[in-house]
Symmetry: C2
Subunit: 588 residues, 2 copies
């Protein structure tokens, strides 16, 4: 029999009609001589009732129903005696007159319920059960609604969906590649792409004008909450558009997505902030602007107070900055503040100075350095009031920004200062072209080596590359980097200078990227684009705190897949065909 509708959609419009439903038994309970079954499908739950007076055999068969059995029922929709206003179908129930058990189920290792207590590992091992839970269904439907909206919007704007290769060439810049051994060329390897960057630029060179792709990307890095070995980006590239036009086009896309997924009206234009201002005000290149508590420059206010830590930081070219926790004087004990000191050590901060603002003046370990006049200057510079807590960090610009930037968010979460229903987008523009990498002990590309410097900064590439800024822009949502992009280099000579500034010898640049620089010589149009992280976008819209919650079959924190047990050992013949031998590191 063909299904009439989904279980979760049987409302009173079906009253007194016969319906055919298919779904999973959520639970069964007997009440007197009646049997009640909650039947579940992806759209929700409907109540079935089995009455022996309607059909004794059907009633008897219903006795055998267990949780997660799959059934087909035919029944009449009737009004319930007492409505359940929590259910979309709560005004009706279905009096069943035919029942077919389509499949049985063993007892599940956890209940199919949103209040799950099973471990992450168990949830992944039985992912097909975990995904039955309504919140997981909803999360993946939100993700689907994003991608559908992206396809529709970009198609309407004449973008062409073009697939780029997943088996491609390994490049040394960037993160670690996943490699794929070649059978035809033993000892040679493909790499899975970290992004379709060069291919999408080639498509601009090929004249496609507007490209997009919802592309899988791969990075063999150690995993964190918002990282997976494979992730998905909404990848966009256009020719002949400048950064403003690309941002405007992107805003239209974001507007449609917010509307279609959550019914939220996004106000555009989205505010813009320079990277510099973002670092100064929020201590972050991905500022969460849903709350204030901005970083205040205290350098002038503390100068001359005689507190050595502050003085030395300033003498060394550093900064003294502070955040003011409104009403924080009562909310934080000395002990709690000291715990925050530990928290910011991971960002390189050596200490956290603090004062509470009281009716009687400043209070706290460093209060003694400030006389009444100096105290007033501090309170003014910190934009504080009586009852507030002022938290200071004195250090290099980077350490101050990182420490106070993260502390600001930490405290805002702790004090519940963040409106969880708000979606605050902001563009961060005018990035430095390079950033210093502690790991490599040299300047690396802040975004990637194909980013166009600001027009007036091209000359800096040969003199002071680290002073150059880029024609780049990140889109930030609620403190997360949702995506980013830039205008790209479309001229060979600029690209050559860029590689040189990154420390490539001419030989290395030629060996790695010669083929691409040749392409730039073939009539490349000015072009640019951006990429949005789909996983993160879905996570934020579904209000989850880990991208695993919006990926159907994610890897665990060891990059393995508890359901299928991937990665696994393979047959010796498979390795032989690839001319590979495994050389396990010796146990010590």
């Amino acid at each position: 029999m063909k299904r009439t509708t989904y279980c979760g959609l049987v409302t009173d419009q079906y009253l007194d009609q016969e319906v055919v439903l298919k779904g999973w038994v959520q639970k069964r309970r007997n009440l007197g001589n009646l049997i009640f079954v909650d039947l579940r499908d992806r759209e929700g739950i409907v109540q079935l009732v089995f009455n022996p007076e309607v059909d004794a055999d059907v009633h008897k068969l219903a006795e055998s129903l267990r949780s997660e059995f799959v059934v087909e029922v035919i029944g009449k929709v009737k009004a319930r005696k007492t409505d359940n206003p929590n259910l979309k179908t709560g005004a009706i129930e279905v009096e069943v007159n035919a029942l077919k058990i389509l499949n049985k189920a063993k007892t599940a290792p956890f209940d199919i319920d949103d209040n799950i207590t099973a471990s992450d590992e168990l949830r992944l091992k039985y992912r097909y059960l975990d995904l039955r839970r309504p919140e997981m269904q909803k999360a993946l439907m939100i993700r689907n609604r994003i991608t559908q909206t992206v396809h529709a919007y970009l198609d309407k704007h004449h973008f062409i969906d073009i697939e780029t290769p997943y088996l491609t060439r390994s490049t040394p810049e960037g993160a670690r590649d996943y490699l794929v051994p070649s059978r035809v060329y033993p000892g040679h390897f493909y790499a899975l792409p970290q992004s379709p960057q060069l291919f999408k630029q080639l498509l601009m060179g090929a004249g496609f004008d507007r490209y997009y792709q919802i592309a899988r990307c791969f990075r063999d890095e150690d995993l964190r909450g918002d990282r997976q070995p494979e992730f998905t980006q909404i990848d966009i590239e256009t020719s002949f558009m400048d950064a403003d036009e690309i941002r405007e086009m992107t805003e239209g896309l974001l507007k449609d997505v917010m509307k279609e997924t959550l019914g939220v009206e996004l106000t555009t234009p989205i505010p813009e902030i320079t990277w510099n201002e973002a670092m100064n005000r929020f201590g972050s290149d991905k500022p969460d602007i849903r709350f204030g508590m901005e970083l205040q420059d205290m350098s002038q206010a503390v100068t001359g107070a005689g507190f050595k830590v502050f003085d030395m930081a300033l003498e060394n070219g550093g900064q003294v900055k502070a955040i003011t926790v409104t009403g924080g004087a009562d909310k934080y004990s000395r002990k709690q503040i000291e715990a925050k000191q530990d928290y910011i050590k991971r960002f390189g901060a050596k200490g956290l100075a603090w004062v509470k603002v009281t009716e009687e003046g400043l209070n706290g370990p460093i209060a003694k350095f400030f006389n009444q006049e100096a105290s007033a200057k501090v309170v003014e510079a910190a934009k504080a009031q009586v009852g507030d807590l002022i938290l200071f960090v004195a250090d290099s610009r980077k350490v101050v920004a990182d420490s106070l930037g993260y502390l600001r968010v930490d405290i805002a979460k702790e004090l519940d200062l963040i409106d969880q229903d708000q979606f605050a987008f902001i563009w961060v523009v005018d990035w430095p072209l390079f950033e210093y990498s502690e790991e490599f002990d040299r300047y690396i590309a802040a975004h990637h080596p194909f980013t166009m410097p600001n027009e007036e900064d091209v000359a800096l590439l040969e003199t002071d590359p680290h002073k150059a800024h880029a024609q780049s822009y990140d889109i930030v949502l609620n403190g997360y980097e949702l995506g980013g992009g830039s205008i790209r280099i479309h001229q060979r000579d600029v690209q050559e200078k860029m590689f040189k500034a990154l420390g490539f010898s001419q030989e290395d640049a030629e060996a790695q990227f010669g083929w691409f620089m040749d392409a730039l010589d073939s009539g490349f149009p000015p072009h640019g684009g951006l990429a949005l992280g789909l996983d993160r976008f879905a996570m934020l819209l579904a209000k989850k705190d880990n991208i695993r919650e919006v990926i159907a079959f994610p890897k665990n924190s060891h990059a393995s897949e508890p359901l299928t047990n991937a990665p696994s050992l393979v047959a010796p013949k498979q390795l032989e065909e690839l001319a590979l031998e495994v050389e396990l590191p010796k146990e010590e």
Copy 2:
């Protein structure tokens, strides 16, 4: 300046207006003191004219334009003196008053033109140039229109786009896997998926009800014209639908695609043929039904004629069948027919017997075996007329089908019998569940091991599995297998029988697929689906004969990528991190 419109879209609606255009110089020619430039973008070509009387400097700069330079121009749209009816923009030209050269170009290794003579390898090495050619642009736009239509149709029908992993587990059934070494678990490997088969079934187990994905798939096989190491399928799965419903839903999809891509009205329902009938009538499980020349059973007509080859084939349980080439008597010489004999040897045929039908009776090497009465029977059975050529093969059923099936298509192409504007879809249903594999010397799954047998054939799994037929269906377009699908096994006991019939020991089945059979125990709904080959679909709609022509960056026949030179050698450190050593086979 913002572009007014694409070059190829400047029609007379812009007459006397000023436009801003950006594009590539297709060619420049001087005519008197005027310079004409064909400016090209993805939508087509527009004629620019530079008149020194309009602006002498601009005219001078235009002198320097070479093919493939990228330019921005401002100009006035004027009517042409003589229309070019071959161009969409042929009624107008743009009188340029401002010109900016956005990028220069070196001389390309081949002309950007549809009449290309460059080798495939050169085209791939300079793919960004090859893709500039209008026919390549059009091919990829057709592909894009297919995917856009698929997204829109399936979204409208409540399918959810869900991504499944690309880093997954290697399984021994099927083609050779591409492997990806794990860094976290040395000696362990992921595999790139040959299809999302098991994951999409798990999504049905998880209750998503309707899934789809435009999924990349990977097979490390030797390449042919319509094979690539990575290919794309439109992957669909549904719960609670039977095969008829799935076919009907698919037909709606195909109807929309044909309409949106080519404006073709596809008549539905699409005809259905059983696998058995397809083999009998067309000698193929992917029959091209755009022409006749069906296989005729000659067994009765030739019995008793005394031609030993025929008699022996029949005695050995084989067949004698023929195809009749209408008017073929004059079109094929003895020598040409002998060449066909060589052609069918690759299918195992030992010979090709033939007669021509003349006014005087049969003619040809075996005519002597047939007296007047027998000749009449032959002509009738072959549905031949005077002037026709009858081609016989006598052998096992498989050899007869393959030889005559391929010969039928070969001759139809040669004689131009195929209407190239026709798109002939047909469903091939009721496939055998197993087919004999010469390679493995055992029965293997005709589709895959998760295909549901016909209800009445489940019992055969334990007695005569090779007699069982499947609830499966292929969709064939113009003689190509466009896709296929089936109802899947949703019960553990049937799945266990299936593995047993395939020769798995219980231990092996458990080791490889235990996790999946456990899932079947958790309340799996009846489900089924299908997959369409996107590359092949795009190839057929773009009227190309190789899927490389509808893939932006395909691999060559050695699975390598001449543009980037993938696969490549990698750094020793990369192998070390993966605990791998390359052991090249020794030269002999």
